[in-house]
């Protein structure tokens, strides 16, 4: 396998080459690659309105964080070429962070698998396409990986600051806060094979929690200063909770709420939002010996069930599978998961086309393909949880079976 020094620049250059072709124009408005919360064209529109002194959070079209708005309205111009380069470099940084996480987990300076890890992120089509469409979910992924990387290195303030930025961009990422804090007070090494109760006192997380709260408050204040009022909160964070925009996306929420009678909406919004949270405690308890794995599992939950997902959310989870090769022998149905993903990734664009371009299909077609996609993500998630727990029991002997109580 080529060493990271060769493979990494080569992959990044190849990605840049594709990013600067005409492909991004075709993908820009694709519903699978960018949601109303992450769409680049909506960001551009917001910047235009912002520069013309129009209150962008009053119209219900702009749902990006004021931080992104400030960055792109003042520091970085939104020319298409420059953005393509920036987004690709962001992915490169994410891949680099993933390699760092891998090295921290193995506790070595470099391994022969490094370039494979980088390739698993840079060549993952779900992430790749989303970056080509300039969806800001790529930036969210990079921030997620950075906060995990800093947490693996025990770099508390950097990890928490990166995480505070991540929450500003996407509220639902708060799901991985608990395992991230646990990761900060433990270590990233693989303890999957030897589960034990957590040894460190959980009190240690309290100052960390204080720190992240402080960062979030400060960033929220900055956002308020940028936006000029608190109106950004219901438009950005509120959107993930109240689902005002029902533009189709590859997730599970939109179709359900298009079919919903209005008087049931608040109840089911609560159910869907809490559903995301109920995974935190069991996953963190079951994987308390390996918080990195718990983070990974919860990222899978987010990618499957969050409110406005794009293909890069499950993509992050799938790429992170490469960090845990010790679980591979214990996967129960990897080929089924792969085939489900193959079917889903072909059906999603085709049924989208049938519904919205050709006009012979309808919303149910696309919804059916998002269900296949959810099944694929669910199958990957369940298999990863199984393998992560199963590894502790060790190799199966003949004439014996492992039973789940």
């Amino acid at each position: 396998m080529p060493s990271l020094n060769v493979a990494f620049p080569a992959l990044v250059v190849a990605r840049l080459f594709v990013a600067l072709s005409s492909l991004p124009d075709v993908l820009k408005h694709n519903h699978q690659l960018s949601s109303p919360l992450t769409s680049f064209s909506q960001l551009q529109e917001g910047i235009y309105l912002f520069n013309h002194d129009i209150d962008i959070y009053s119209g219900g079209t702009f749902r990006h964080s004021p931080l992104l708005l400030a960055t792109f309205a003042t520091i970085i111009p939104t020319s298409h070429t420059l953005s393509s380069i920036l987004w690709t470099l962001c992915d490169a940084a994410g891949a680099w962070a993933l390699v760092k996480i891998w090295r921290a987990r193995q506790n070595v300076a470099s391994t022969p698998r490094d370039s494979l890890i980088a390739a698993s992120y840079l060549l993952n089509p779900y992430i790749f396409m989303s970056t080509l469409a300039l969806s800001t979910s790529s930036l969210e992924n990079t921030l997620t990986l950075f906060s995990i990387m800093f947490a693996c290195h025990g770099n508390i303030s950097a990890a928490l600051l990166a995480f505070a930025f991540l929450i500003q961009l996407s509220l639902s990422s708060i799901v991985i806060l608990t395992p991230l804090l646990l990761l900060l007070i433990t270590n990233p090494l693989s303890h999957l094979a030897s589960p034990r109760p957590i040894l460190v006192s959980l009190r240690k997380t309290i100052p960390l929690l204080g720190e992240i709260t402080a960062y979030t408050l400060i960033l929220s204040l900055v956002s308020t200063l940028v936006a000029g009022s608190w109106a950004w909160i219901p438009q950005t964070w509120g959107a993930t909770l109240t689902l005002p925009d029902l533009t189709p996306n590859p997730g599970m929420w939109w179709y359900f709420f298009t079919e919903m009678f209005d008087h049931f909406r608040p109840f089911f919004l609560m159910v869907f939002s809490i559903h995301l949270l109920i995974y935190i405690a069991p996953v963190c308890i079951k994987f308390q010996h390996d918080s990195l794995y718990a983070t990974f599992i919860l990222l899978g939950v987010l990618g499957t069930f969050k409110a406005y997902p794009t293909s890069s959310d499950p993509g992050l989870f799938l790429s992170m599978i490469s960090l845990f090769p010790e679980t591979y022998p214990y996967f129960r149905h990897p080929i089924v998961t792969t085939l489900l993903h193959l079917h889903a990734s072909l059906l999603l664009p085709l049924f989208h086309h049938l519904w919205l371009v050709q006009g012979t299909g309808n919303a149910n077609f696309f919804y059916a393909s998002t269900l296949v996609f959810a099944c694929a993500n669910g199958a990957a998630l369940i298999d990863c949880i199984w393998a992560g727990l199963r590894i502790a029991i060790g190799k199966q002997h003949e004439n014996s079976a492992v039973v789940q109580e």
Partner: protein, 645 residues
Amino acid sequence: MDVNVEREGVLWRKVFSKIKAKFSATPNAHQNRIRRQKAVVALLTHHLPFIKLALFLLGYLWMLSIPSTSLSTNTYIDENALQPAQVNTYWNWGDVHTADKYLEQLETLKLANATSFDRAQVLRKEFSKLGLSASTQEYSFSLSSGVTRGANAYAVISSPRGSGTEAMVVSASWVSLTGEGDGMLNLRGISTVLALAGFLKRYSLWAKDIVFVISDGYLDGMHAWLSAYHGSTQQNLVTEELKISSGVIWAALNIDYPGHSFSHLGIFFEGINGRLPNQDLLNSFERISRYTGGVPVTVYDHLHPQEDTMNKQGKTWIPSTIRNHQNVVSYAYHARNIVRHLNYQARGCASGVHGLFHQFRIDAITIFAVPSTGPHGFHAIGRVVESTLRTMNNLLERLHASFFFFILTGPERFIKIGGYLPSAILISVAMMFQGLGTWVDAAWVPDDSEESSQTKEKASNTPLKWRKRRRPVIPALLIMAATHIFGGSLFFILTRSWFMKNYQLLSPIIFIFFAIIPLLTLTISKPTSENAPLPTVLKALNLCFASTVISITAVLNFSLAVFFSVLLGVPLAITSSSSAAPTRALRYIAHILLGLGWLLIGQEEMKAAILNWEVLSVWFAPVICLLYVPLVLQASIVCILPSCS
């Protein structure tokens, strides 16, 4: 009081322990469950060859039974607003006379060998004389085979009762669809459109604009007009911009009347890339033609054998009792319609000019006047078109209620998607089973290390021991990726102009070149005894991928899925490596011929497909090069790679 509390406590505990007992299974229950699981798995694996065979047979038999009447149902009108054949028509003999006059004029134009541009000018003037806003549009296609030029004429009746945001199109092309546009002229169709333009203008009941288009050539003129109308650009097409525009086109009727008179009106409905119009349009037309026009309707130009007195003998080697049996006759008639449909749809070809409308989400059909000595003419076709336009005029939203996925077996019979889809899906499932079975088998190898230590009798008594081995997935995936890149380069070569100019000479050379390259895999593969053999793993992945391709295309374009499942189903399932080199070579050659044989024997078909891709963006040629050829090449690589254990 205390006693009560205690009793409640006991009750609560009892209920709790009962629930606990129900959910925490005893070890025995686990044993039973595992035993059951193993029994099911054993049953499945033991009967897998039988299940596969049954699925394949069932799939192919289902495919063969699609023409039988038991799967089809009668057509019906789904959209209540349409109300077909419920109006009085006003088209009369005076209008027929006008059409005859136009026909004379067109015939003098034809005899004078007028150029496209002159013709378009004459037509524009005629439209203008009727008081319509009319214009012409010139266009030119630059193709790898040369440049095609032409000119369209079109006119618009602005709706007296609407805002002009919606429109219907009545069109006729200069060349008729007879023989896929082989040069027969559609003069009567054009006369009908001209006469209709004058006639329809007299009525104030139109809620939608009516656009009349006389397109040049067969498909090229209408393609240029539609592209300009919808503002879609294409690299090799230069068109004049349209000077008159109208609203969103909802429905279009294309009139094709090549003969002197007609006996039936035929429906042509397949669009490019296999898109079909909403069935309500076809059914409304069928009802109107039958009740208002009094003209029987057929599918395409196929007459029902009972009506077709000219051509009665058929296959003479079949005994006449069987040949003339009612079920056989109707099966043969339906099968003929379905085969024609599959042929259009699988190749992604439009069966007429209407097919071009479909790409812009417009429901359109061609009304084809089946040439005959009588009894119908301008009088009947005018009334039918008038009444159909009245029906389309009733629409409040786009046609959406009825079916978009169907097979029309006869003018009044159709098969819903649930009736035909399972045939292709069953074959795809069979391939998936075979692929997964091969995948599982590749992981296991009989363990002979212990056998050597034990005595031979013992070994024969004890069941065979199995050892797990690694499967080389990465090399197999790399080979698959390479074949797809290979297919891409094949497509790149075929679409170059230097290839198209000398395609008869170059095709065999390219065939030989592309047949030899897969042999390179022989040099790369290093068989090892620890890993599973590469051909087995490649076969498993190849079958799984082919199965996915078939099941997904089945929803988009059923005919293409049928084409794939017939050509890929069995040939991919029976591939295997062999220890004898000649057997391997023979199998390899057979698969290469299956995959690339069209370079040798289907050159004209290939040329047409590439032309369709260049002009109309029909996906057939790229799909063949990028999906079909690589899949068969993978199968041929499975055959040629040496097996070893």
